[in-house]
Symmetry: C2
Subunit: 216 residues, 2 copies
């Protein structure tokens, strides 16, 4: 990986960031259950985590534990949300409003974390010009204008594999800084753009691994 010099972050493992998301969900659950403070051991036991890993992950970002008390649940949750950028709302562009795009648009989990799909792009004349739950569906040529007007920085790509790369290039040209790609293909962005490929079949493979290894 090339260093991204404009990001002021030490080298933090991607899995640490992923785990911060998991910790945030655990803390939210604890908060709902009325738990005020928790030790890393209790946290680990309750949610099947590794307590040494929890401490190591958090240590990248500061000293959050209090001797003899542990972590303040609400305080730590708020800190992690801030670190993850969840203390604000992110307007998100969704490109592609087919089966998958439509499902992602309606996915309840995004909005709950502050990711609001503000605009949808799809060149299908049967879709462009309409709107869905208040979000306009626009042709891709409107991307540069909308990107600027709505201060879009994150885009979700849910187009067929064959158009994923060209769509990505248009997003990058329009100033999008982070892309979540659901198209089942490898796409490339420049160094300045964060890209995350979601390959849903990898999730199934970790299940078939256990079934294949299991004594049957």
């Amino acid at each position: 990986m090339t260093a991204r010099s404009h990001f002021k972050i030490p080298k933090i493992p991607e899995m640490t960031i992923r785990r911060l998301s998991v910790y945030t969900r655990c803390l939210l659950q604890l908060e709902e259950d009325g738990v005020k403070t928790i030790s890393s051991q209790e946290l680990a036991e309750r949610f099947s985590l590794n307590s040494a890993q929890v401490r190591k992950d958090l240590a990248y970002f500061g000293e959050f534990g209090v001797r003899g008390i542990g972590y303040y649940v609400s305080g730590l949750k708020a800190e992690l949300q801030k670190i993850l950028g969840l203390d604000r709302e992110w307007p998100v562009a969704l490109v592609g409003f087919g089966n998958l795009g439509s499902a992602l648009f309606h996915y309840k989990g995004f909005a709950r974390q502050g990711f609001r799909i503000a605009v949808v792009f799809d060149d299908d004349p049967a879709k462009a010009g309409r709107s869905v739950d208040g979000a306009p569906i626009l042709p891709l040529r409107d991307l540069p204008r909308e990107s600027k007007a709505r201060n879009l920085q994150i885009a979700i790509v849910a187009v067929p594999a064959e158009s994923a790369q060209s769509v990505t290039e248009k997003l990058v040209a329009a100033g999008i800084k982070a892309i979540l790609n659901f198209a089942p293909t490898r796409i490339k962005t420049g160094r300045d753009v964060r890209l995350k490929n979601v390959d849903l079949s990898i999730e199934l493979e970790s299940l078939s691994f256990y079934l294949a290894q299991g004594g049957r």
Copy 2:
């Protein structure tokens, strides 16, 4: 985590299994490019992996490298596919044929890896009784019979959060051994069933993390 005594597997980190899926994809790409052998260093460089990690992950399953040659691309790919259970076809049950279920049904990536959605369950009277691309859509009460007849072991849950737990219990009762849950909620299974929760917003959070930390 409780030990699952009926699985004959040493304690292999979940991330190792996930990475095996990634390595398999890299090897497939190399095979398509006509590459016959590759060292762990070359593999790591070409796909931005960590060569020590590659060696460590593979070492859980055997000795695959040949001194002075590296890995035989096709041979290693086939071995990894076998380990991941990708050397066979898995009939999969999909529960829920709403927006997300429909998108998952049509997701190209599953079939490519040998996961064939053989049957869909949905109690919506407008859907049950129909079929989609050759797969029947059936009411949930048919689950026990179909599970046996089709030797179903894997199910994908794509129902609303509020019905995810009851659906899961029906799947477990019908003998399903592995569940991939897309419903945005925590569900519980017994010890004998492998469960994997997919939380799509975690993927977006790792992007907002970089944007939040980045100098803007």
